[in-house]
């Protein structure tokens, strides 16, 4: 195959890509006109569904008395496990489950009388108004015969086991002989880090509006990070062909991983909508959000780090213990980052899981890498202090020039620049090398830093460009804008690719009627969709060049196609760039009002693979070799710790990220700040407490579950390193949504250590833990 064009080749001079353009969907968002999934009020006969959930975490439904609820005004139907319409396929059957693109857990509720977790749906009430549905649901009398519960991996009844695989990675990873290397290491550090259960808590709870437009035609407005995945999974579960299901999500009120999958409430909404013959809206309440769309699992990580006296790493042994559901072997893959971040000759990583009465945990912003970095980056900090080295120095000493986990070269890596620039911006050279020595009044002041990294996940998807002769264009891809700026950055990419001003571009997303692309998750969307859009524009040019060279009125008549290039909408001879004409001229003479192009864009190793194959030169091995693809970065943090109250305030923050080409520094800065704030929340306040006896959450709302508020957040500085990566995709873009959180909690913990001389290894670092640590001798 031909080598695909790349943006840096066709657009060597700067256009709107890389400019801090304000969001194109901003007007809709600041005026309240943006339509989220629960806001399609115009559907004919729309009714409301409300979930009734189990208060018991384990047991069997003995009876559900629906009599009072049925008599309540406005009630259309009440569904329980006894009368819920049957699904064509459910995840309860492992064979069926293979048909699902995006089912997060091996269990669908209300298929039987079994209760496996608190908050599991036991009934769905449909009524003409929300209030009537809520009231009727409150009248249901659910009797459950309880059975013994296991609340977490810490429960004495829990049985830890090592799974064969976790998320496709082996349950045990060994590289070299880490045990022997650790045993012989002159410097040994062993520490255990714990991480509380946390919830994504997007501001918009899960919401589905399901509308059957015919017996085999379903439109679902769903708050989802991937319309295509939701479409395919719903179709399989409902026994429909894929094209019979349309999924729409034009605006989504945050996701952070929990909306990356099809959870039971979405399928239930579609099921009951068919049964009542009316469009149905089902919105989770905030407490239901805590038991309906997954969470980041509580976990303990023990790191055994061996090093030379000079600080060179010799071995890392990483054990993770965590809770999973009764049906799945799910764990965040924490060892991914601990195996690759530093030049480490020997590694061993093992997952230990215990089934408990809790739903399956799921991807949460930088799954695995975020808690993994907390443990590793805290240990690296310990090592630096123990050896009297600067925390940056210990990291440079162990800098990985290639990926130690697989020996591959990096596609690009600008981590040293991140350290250097971050240190400059923060004023790191003023750092007091001693712990617990800096005060501001009575508060203790500390500085900490940590490394960030996030992999480039392989993904691909389509886009379509329709260019009008009048210089406007409609550009489409079935992507999602989670607030990440997809609408805006794709408008910028399309504008430069077509040589048009951005206001002449309309970018459409969030609908399975548009060209399909994968979800917005794993920091893949910016790189994948931008490449698809760019290549679709190139497809337009290729088609138009063919028209021009056959037109005897064109200055390009009878030119070879490969001799024509397109610069800012002008079709020109490569060898004679003064000769050519504008695309509109070609189209007018040909009587074309518009022309369409489409393309498949690839992100990550699937992009590199065809390029390498096309380039294959048997004498030059490195052409065909794979690259290891990661974004890198560094976070710097200042905290003030009140030694009497145990409160920790973040007072200064610097993040420097090397994420390939930054499409829009304004939206990118916002995204990185947001990721850091998410991490500050996990570091200092976020925890969902599950009762150890009842396995039920005790603080499942936004009063009991604290996320950072405005007053918790200081001024933040974000910068990006100018980085050119020819291997990741046609645009040279790496994602930044997840790397922004990786290392953040370690940066805070390291700053707390610097301030107090106390190492806190249990997140969140709430005042009680800080005070307890302050009482311990240094």
């Amino acid at each position: 195959m031909d080598i695909e064009p790349t943006f840096s080749k066709t657009n060597p001079t700067a256009g709107v890509v890389g400019q801090p353009m304000s969001r194109v969907d901003g007007w809709a968002k600041v005026t309240g006109r943006a339509t989220y999934s629960a806001e399609y009020s115009g559907l004919p006969g729309l009714v409301h569904a409300v979930l009734k959930t189990s208060d018991v975490a384990h047991g069997r439904v003995q009876s559900i008395d629906v009599s009072a609820a049925q008599r309540a005004p406005g009630v259309l139907a009440i569904f329980t496990h006894q009368n819920l319409p049957k699904l064509a396929k459910t995840p309860n059957s492992p064979d069926d489950r293979k048909a699902f693109v995006s089912s997060p857990m091996g269990f669908f509720p209300m298929e039987s009388d079994q209760i496996f977790y608190a908050g599991q749906p036991v009934a769905v009430v449909v009524a003409d108004t929300l209030e009537r549905a809520q009231y009727a649901a409150s009248l249901l009398k659910v009797s459950i015969v309880p059975e013994a519960t296991i609340s977490s991996y810490l429960d004495p009844k829990a049985q830890l086991y090592t799974p064969k695989t976790v998320k496709g990675m082996p349950g045990v990873t060994k590289r070299g002989d880490a045990q022997e290397a650790f045993a012989g290491a002159p410097v040994q550090l062993t520490a255990t880090y714990t991480h509380a259960t946390i919830h994504h808590n997007p501001m918009e709870p899960g919401a589905t509006t399901a509308h059957w437009e015919g017996p085999n035609r379903l439109t679902v407005y769903d708050s989802t990070q991937g319309v295509s995945e939701t479409q395919k999974t719903l179709a399989a579960m409902l026994g429909l062909a894929t094209e019979q299901v349309r999924v729409v999500c034009k605006f989504i009120g945050g996701g952070f991983g929990c909306k990356a999958w099809v959870w039971p409430h979405t399928t239930l909404a579609a099921l009951v909508a068919k049964a009542v013959g009316r469009p149905v809206k089902l919105v989770l309440t905030r407490p239901q959000q805590f038991t309906s769309m997954g969470h980041r699992e509580e976990q303990a990580q023990t790191l055994r780090l061996g090093a030379t006296r000079e600080g060179k790493l010799l071995a890392l042994i990483h054990d993770k213990s965590s809770t999973t559901s009764p049906w799945d072997d799910y764990a965040e893959t924490n060892t991914r980052i601990t195996n690759m971040l530093y030049a480490l000759p020997a590694f061993e990583g093992t997952y230990h899981l215990a089934h408990a009465n809790v739903m399956t945990s799921t991807a949460t912003r930088a799954p695995g890498d975020m808690p993994g970095a907390f443990a590793l980056e805290s240990s690296m900090d310990d090592l630096a202090y123990q050896l009297g080295l600067d925390p940056i120095q210990i990291r440079l000493l162990n800098y990985a020039d290639k990926d130690p986990s697989n020996g591959h070269p990096w596609s690009s890596k600008s981590l040293k620049q991140c350290y250097q620039r971050g240190a400059e911006l923060f004023g790191w050279n003023q750092r007091n090398p001693k712990n617990g020595q800096t005060r501001a009044g009575k508060t203790l002041v500390g500085w900490g830093m940590a490394t960030a990294s996030y992999p480039v996940h392989n993904s691909q998807g389509n886009a379509r460009v329709r260019l009008y002769a009048d210089g406007h264009a409609v550009v489409q891809a079935g992507a999602t804008d989670l607030g990440t700026g997809t609408y805006t950055v794709m408008t910028q990419v399309a504008a430069d690719s077509l040589g048009l001003p951005p206001e002449n571009i309309r970018f459409e997303l969030g609908d399975t009627d548009l060209p399909s692309t994968q979800w917005s998750g794993g920091s893949t969307a910016a790189g994948r969709v931008s490449s698809s859009v760019y290549l679709a524009a190139q497809d337009v040019w290729q088609r138009l060049i063919k028209v021009a060279v056959q037109d005897n009125k064109s200055p390009l008549y009878r030119a070879k196609i490969e001799d024509v290039m397109v610069v800012k909408g002008q079709l020109l001879f490569r060898t004679d760039p003064d000769t050519g004409e504008a695309f509109g001229e070609v189209m007018k003479r040909a009587g074309m009002s518009d022309i369409e192009g489409s393309a498949l864009g690839r992100y990550g190793s699937s992009y590199e693979a065809p390029r390498a194959a096309a380039n294959a030169d048997p004498n030059k091995k490195d052409h065909a070799s794979e690259h290891s693809m990661h974004a890198f970065g560094a976070h710097f943090c200042e905290v003030h710790v009140d030694p009497e109250l145990g409160t920790v305030r973040v007072t200064k923050w610097v993040s420097v990220i090397a994420g390939g080409r930054i499409l829009n520094p304004k939206t990118a800065r916002s995204q990185v700040m947001g990721g850091s704030i998410f991490g500050i929340g996990a570091a200092l306040m976020e925890t969902t407490e599950r009762d150890p006896h009842l396995a039920r959450y005790t603080n499942a709302d936004l009063a009991g579950y604290h996320i950072p508020v405005n007053a918790d957040i200081p001024d933040m500085t974000v910068e990006f390193i100018d980085e050119h990566d020819p291997y990741v995709n046609a645009m040279g873009v790496k994602g930044i949504g997840e790397i922004s959180i990786v290392g953040t909690s370690a940066a805070v913990a390291n700053a707390v250590f610097h301030a107090t001389g106390r190492r806190l290894r249990s997140l969140p670092m709430t005042p009680d833990k800080v005070l307890a640590a302050m009482r311990e001798p240094v």
Partner: protein
């Protein structure tokens, strides 16, 4: 305690911190006991009066929203938030928690910021209700909306209408005079995307233009 964050007892005639200002409220309740002993405000007295009435079943409610008079048939238990979203097609006001914990549903009632999820529609008849849809004049954005756009004061946009309504009130209350004060008085509006620094910049810019 930094004095400009919290009103001193002599200026308690200022609007009180709304219940959506979670942290402020708690700090105040702990820090200024005098407030708890102050006589009930007029609004509270009105609410007590409303409780004594008996209304059953759906009735026609007349609401004054964004300068228009709207009639809606609803039961007395219907919150202002659900009346706006489910019955009046004013979905700009968002439901994030339905319990006054997140601020996404913030609207102005007679110029004061209020959590519409904690307000029954039947109780705000005769009052001037302003929602996010009522801020712009045609295509001309309210300065607070324009400032949010300029400073990228949002990502997913779901908390944004509440933040903007809160920001408008925060400025008119005189609680956006310093960065710290503004942070504190905007802390009843949660933003999970973490746009706080940009929200602060937007509200402060509007406040500084007076």
């Amino acid at each position: 305690m930094v004095s400009d964050l919290f009103p001193t007892p002599e200026n308690t005639s200022e609007p009180q911190p709304d219940s959506n200002a979670r942290r402020s409220f708690m700090k105040q309740a702990g820090g200024i006991l005098g407030l708890a002993l102050a006589p009930p405000l007029v609004a509270q007295a009105e609410r007590l009066t409303a409780y004594s009435r008996t209304i059953e079943g759906a009735t026609d409610l007349t609401l004054r929203i964004n300068g228009q008079t709207r009639t809606v048939r609803a039961e007395p238990r219907v919150t202002l938030l659900d009346a706006l979203r489910e019955r009046l097609d004013l979905t700009g006001t968002k439901k994030g928690c339905d319990h006054g914990q997140c601020g996404a549903c913030t609207v102005l009632i007679d110029g004061q910021r209020v959590n519409s999820c904690l307000t029954l529609a039947v109780m705000v008849q005769g009052k001037e209700i302003t929602t996010i849809e009522g801020l712009a004049q045609g295509d001309e954005l309210h300065p607070m909306q324009a400032a949010f756009l300029k400073h990228d004061g949002f990502q997913c946009g779901y908390c944004t209408p509440g933040q903007i309504m809160s920001g408008v009130a925060c400025v008119s209350e005189g609680h956006a005079k310093t960065d710290d004060q503004c942070r504190e008085w905007m802390s009843g509006n949660l933003c999970r995307c973490g746009a706080y620094a940009n929200i602060l910049a937007a509200v402060r810019e509007v406040a500084s233009k007076g």
